[in-house]
């Protein structure tokens, strides 16, 4: 068991996720970043939001083969990090504002999904 984990609110479904994030935006939270981890065959997302220098984290588990919803419709600045994870983890986000189709960093010659 891991010690000193960061506090994070567990989110169960993608619909709930988008709704929570919309709620956070209207509360005046800023999108800080998103962290993607490999976990149990799928991926763990930790969304990090910030307000008044305090962090608020959301944890969401992406099941294997699931196409996660993009947050870039709510926070435009999310598009870069989501494109990065498309490159590095081979994920596919739905509804990206600008979709580099997995070629933000990598070219057709580069290794595919190196972090996956």
């Amino acid at each position: 068991m891991l010690e000193n984990t960061i506090e994070a609110t567990e989110i169960k479904s993608s619909g709930e996720l988008l709704k929570t994030i919309e709620g956070l935006k209207s509360d005046g939270y800023r999108y800080s970043t998103m962290i993607c981890l490999k976990a149990n065959e799928g991926h763990d997302f930790i969304y990090v939001f910030e307000k008044d220098n305090k962090l608020k984290n959301l944890r969401y588990f992406v099941k294997p083969g699931e196409k996660p919803k993009s947050v870039s419709g709510i926070y435009l600045c999310a598009l870069l990090i989501e494109n990065e994870y498309q490159d590095l983890f081979g994920l596919t986000f739905e509804g990206l504002a600008i979709d580099y189709k997995g070629h933000l960093y990598l070219t057709p010659n580069s290794p595919k999904a190196p972090l996956a």
Binding site: N4, I35, C77, H103, Y105
Partner: protein, 358 residues
């Protein structure tokens, strides 16, 4: 008629390879699409082969300009995993080196920015003063650019009496010189012609676009991670956040110049309060758990996420660098500016592409 002008990846104004495809309609930019990946090395994967001590050196080479603060933030994040108590003297030395880093980075940026709007003598002036900072940094840490001062558990080198004298002398000689270049940046007619009202972001827009650092503070948001509880040493040093209300390139320049004074003040205060004692505490074992650490780099807030799994390698290292947060704001700022202003607008966020792509 729109013409497409390729801006980069190899371009004299930008020292770094970022490519912008600019759609130009009658000298005005109507669309811009950045293309990244020319500096992508894949450092987040690299930690698999290095243990958590060696990763410090990898983190310092994420970017050669803000390298000290990358190293410091990483080591502080790992120390969080260990719940380690770090000697106070080490923390003060970290602050001093971090602020030296900010001084040289801001002077570097001011120079490049001046070059961006074609003011060559100002460029040379800023870089001349920057050398003074580098000399001191070299004396303290042993290297001009990559400082490698921070290690897990403390710092690797102590400040000697001679170093402290050098630091104070540098602070005294630098302050009037910064006043000189401030006069030019703030008052010169042609500089103001170029900067005032260019690429304005409102307070609200800058906040919502998730920008960081001087880009955010130049729009009137007084947000600086140095004020947070993550690293509370800054509170004792009397830190004050620099803000400008303008929200344009002029405002961002003013913020950075104010931060130069602030850094000098912080170095002086840190020296006057510098406690005696050890500079490092031994740390044993392997890290477990996860931690988020944030500090304020010259370019803005950096977020480090580390996750250990009880082995000597970290399981995951994620770095959100300030430029990464600022690049989306370029998409908002670029449409509507003239082609002649594109380098200024790109430089105004102080892009650090090797940070962004890692």
């Amino acid at each position: 008629m729109t013409t497409v002008i390729p801006f980069g990846p190899q371009h004299p104004v930008l020292p770094e390879p970022v490519s912008l495809k600019l759609e130009i309609d009658n000298d005005v930019v109507v669309g811009a699409l950045p293309s990244l990946g020319y500096v992508h090395r894949g450092l987040e994967k690299f930690i698999d082969t290095k243990d958590y001590n060696q990763t410090t050196y990898i983190c310092e080479r994420i970017c050669g300009i803000c390298s000290a603060l990358h190293g410091i933030t990483y080591t502080k994040a790992v120390e969080k995993l260990f719940d380690a108590e770090i000697p106070e003297r080490a923390e003060y030395i970290r602050v001093i080196v971090g602020e030296l880093n900010r001084l040289h980075s801001h002077l570097l940026w001011l120079g490049l920015f001046a070059d961006g709007f074609g003011f060559e003598s100002l460029f040379y002036e800023c870089w001349k003063y920057r050398e003074e900072v580098l000399d001191v940094a070299e004396r303290i840490t042993g290297n001009r650019v990559i400082h490698s001062i921070s290690k897990v558990g403390g710092v690797s080198r102590d400040l000697t009496k001679e170093n402290i004298d050098m630091l104070l002398k540098m602070c005294d000689s630098l302050e009037p010189k910064i006043k000189d270049i401030e006069k030019v940046f703030v008052n010169n007619y042609t500089v103001k012609q170029r900067l005032v009202g260019l690429a304005t972001m409102s307070k609200q827009l800058a906040y919502e676009a998730g920008t960081a650092g001087p880009t955010l503070r130049g729009s009137g948001n007084a947000i600086d991670v140095r004020e947070t509880a993550d690293w509370d040493i800054y509170k004792d040093l009397g830190f004050k956040t620099a803000v400008a209300k303008e929200g344009d390139c002029y405002g961002r320049t003013k913020v950075r110049i104010d931060e130069l004074y602030e850094s000098i003040k912080l170095i002086r205060n840190a020296i006057s309060k510098l406690p005696n004692g050890d500079i490092a505490t031994p740390i044993k074992g392997f890290p477990t758990g996860e931690a988020i650490m944030r500090t304020e780099q010259p370019r803005g807030e950096v977020v480090y996420y580390v996750k250990g799994n009880g082995t000597k390698n970290l399981e995951r290292l994620k770095v959100r660098t300030p430029t990464f947060a600022n690049i989306p704001s370029l998409l908002l700022m670029l449409p509507g500016v003239r082609l002649a202003d594109v380098p200024i607008v790109v430089l105004t966020i102080d892009p650090c592409i090797s940070c962004t792509e890692r």
